[in-house]
Subunit: 347 residues, 2 copies
DNA sequence: TGTTAGCACTCAAGGTATGAGAGTGCTAAC
DNA sequence: GTTAGCACTCTCATACCTTGAGTGCTAACA
């Protein structure tokens, strides 16, 4: 299955060209542009071979060739040139980040925005699950008549509201117990057993009707362990409309619907490999999703030390500038890692 | 400037028709559909009059007429029929809301989602400014080495992070003082003078380097008064692509860019009347914004008692179904008001 | 005086033919 | 193994024509 050096060069030239123009590329164009010293006829023969091998597709007899999914795959794996991001961009990114040590969420949103700015494609970024973040503090605040807000502080803040009939005094006592028992743990370490232990402790200290107590216990447990609404942020969705492959409004609309459907988007993004710290590209059908057949998803994991991790991904046309996207994601994820490591360090 | 009854009926019929079809409507169509007992020739004469008066426009000589901005305006002010929302939809909305008394943010997001579901247009919803919400509690939590998070609880939670070198003990003391001095107030009541008063109090109780103290004071003041990032949520942006007036990808792209540009979107939405509790429609050029020339913005204020208010708005083609949009916004804002009133009541 | 039928006219939209251009595959010669 | 040359194919843009919807005007009618 390996290709002659000449075939590789030709395939690379075709894909590079196609990425730029979105037009099928012909033999003449290649023989002119590249200085391979070959005539178009020779290139034609090679192209016919490459097509037979499955790397190229001919939309119709008298058109040039475009890369197949396999062609892109080969390109990404073996042919692609390394893209070098300009020094100005890098130092600008670093500068902004340094002045922006702030909430986790802001950093994450910023990462997405930055990626879409560098690549000019749509980006998707998910917040870390929070299940592995240490609970710094828990608070219970009365914010209205019969309305209590539970606030869980980790690197970020999660809050939830419940209607229940308790007074400020009780609130305070409950908060003290919850803090004693839970702070320092991570959400994933908190089992329902542990919470029930707390329930017994509360029974001894505070006088509450059993129903209210049970409600509170469930409330606390749910709030802490609920991971359903890990956020997912989409940036620059409109860039989709820039690419000729979506000039069909019908098609564009479908992609937009998909990008607004956070649940399925999460599924897609989470279907990428979560273990490594490398970049993963899923090209067209590799995504196993009808709507992504004409798109590629390039993703990278960023991490908060060893505690939790999220994903930063780019969604774009299959003929995206992979090398630029790879370089951008790599850069951002590295810089963000640095910041986050500093930001959550405990010593 | 008043119109004969017949002209009104004809104008109404034309706009109703155009709202449905997005095609210029001709005299024959009107004379057939409406049972006015008039021939197309008569209608034609009336239409010529209406055009002269500025209510209608003829895209080209041999086409039917479409409403002008003034035509829509007249329609909205005087002609429009009341739309009745189905009982099922209403009771469904009420049911969901009742089971969903939860954070302010969630309610707001839900309002936007619901409006876009009812109308099938793009909706925009802004959170209340927070400046008039009472501070329930303030907390200061150490979340990492030299990293402090300030948490301000009102009906909602705002948090901000700062790098500063203090220990847990100091944190706690500061939190106590801040709570004593600030809880119960609204952000708008907090002046820098007042904060400086607190600064003096801190100086007496806690030993801190002057620089750190000043940093903290600024940090607190900024976090509380910062209103820059009041959120704005966009729903169902993709619906734009459904309407033939945006089948031009170019045009659609511009609208999308605009919808992603939160700052300018806020400006647009906030340019609507904020005092009343009625519905306001801005049609085409009335928005004073190039990009909105072919769109209408219909908005309503919702309120949290008398304390703060936000906006719920629909953005759609000028030929939107105004009467349905009006009814939907009215319904949702009413229901949300009810819930919020209950939710923030203090007694 | 208001309404209507009739007719000539206009214009956009859609279908068809045509030609140019890009690109291919194949063959034969180098 | 490489290349020049040629016939062939297919898309795209253009021009042209037809069709149909709709108008404005005029003259006749109630």
């Amino acid at each position: 299955m390996d290709l002659s050096d000449r075939k590789r060069k030709i395939l690379q030239a075709i894909i590079d060209e196609y990425i730029g123009t979105a037009e099928p590329v012909g033999s003449r164009a290649i023989s002119k542009k590249e200085n391979l010293g070959l005539s178009s006829a020779t290139i034609r023969n090679e192209m016919a071979d490459l097509e037979e091998m499955g790397y190229l597709i001919q939309p119709h007899t008298s058109a040039g060739r475009i890369p197949s999914d396999e062609g892109y795959r080969f390109y990404v794996n073996s042919l692609m040139q390394k893209y070098k991001i300009g020094v100005e961009a890098v130092s600008q990114l670093q500068m902004i980040l340094e002045n922006r040590v702030s909430q986790l969420e802001k950093i994450i949103k910023f990462a997405g925005a930055m990626a879409s700015k560098l690549t000019d494609y749509t980006t998707v970024v998910t917040a870390p699950s929070g299940q592995n973040l240490e609970i710094k503090k828990i608070d219970l605040v009365l914010i209205g008549n019969r309305t209590v807000m539970l606030i869980v502080v980790t690197q970020t803040v999660r809050n939830q509201v419940m209607n229940i009939d308790i007074d400020e005094e009780v609130c305070r006592k409950l908060a003290v117990i919850l803090n004693q028992k839970l702070s320092g743990l991570t959400a994933s370490e908190i089992t329902f057993d542990r919470i029930q232990e707390i329930q017994r402790e509360i029974e001894q200290t505070v006088s509450l009707s059993p129903k209210v107590l049970i409600d509170i216990i469930h409330f606390v447990y749910d709030t802490i362990t609920d991971d359903a609404d890990t956020e997912i942020y989409v940036n620059n969705a409109k860039s989709i409309l820039k690419y000729p492959e979506y000039s069909d409004v019908e098609k564009a609309g479908k992609i937009f619907s998909f990008l607004e459907d956070k649940e399925n988007l999460k599924k897609l993004v989470n279907s990428t490999d979560s273990s490594g710290d490398g970049i993963e590209a899923k090209i067209g059908k590799e995504n196993n999703l009808e709507i992504m057949n004409d798109c590629s998803l390039v993703s990278i994991n960023y991490s908060l030390g060893d505690k939790a991790s999220g994903k930063l991904a780019v969604i774009g046309p299959k003929r995206m500038n992979y090398s630029k996207v790879f370089a951008s994601l790599d850069l951002i994820s590295n810089e963000i890692d640095k910041i986050l490591k500093y930001y959550i360090s405990d010593e």
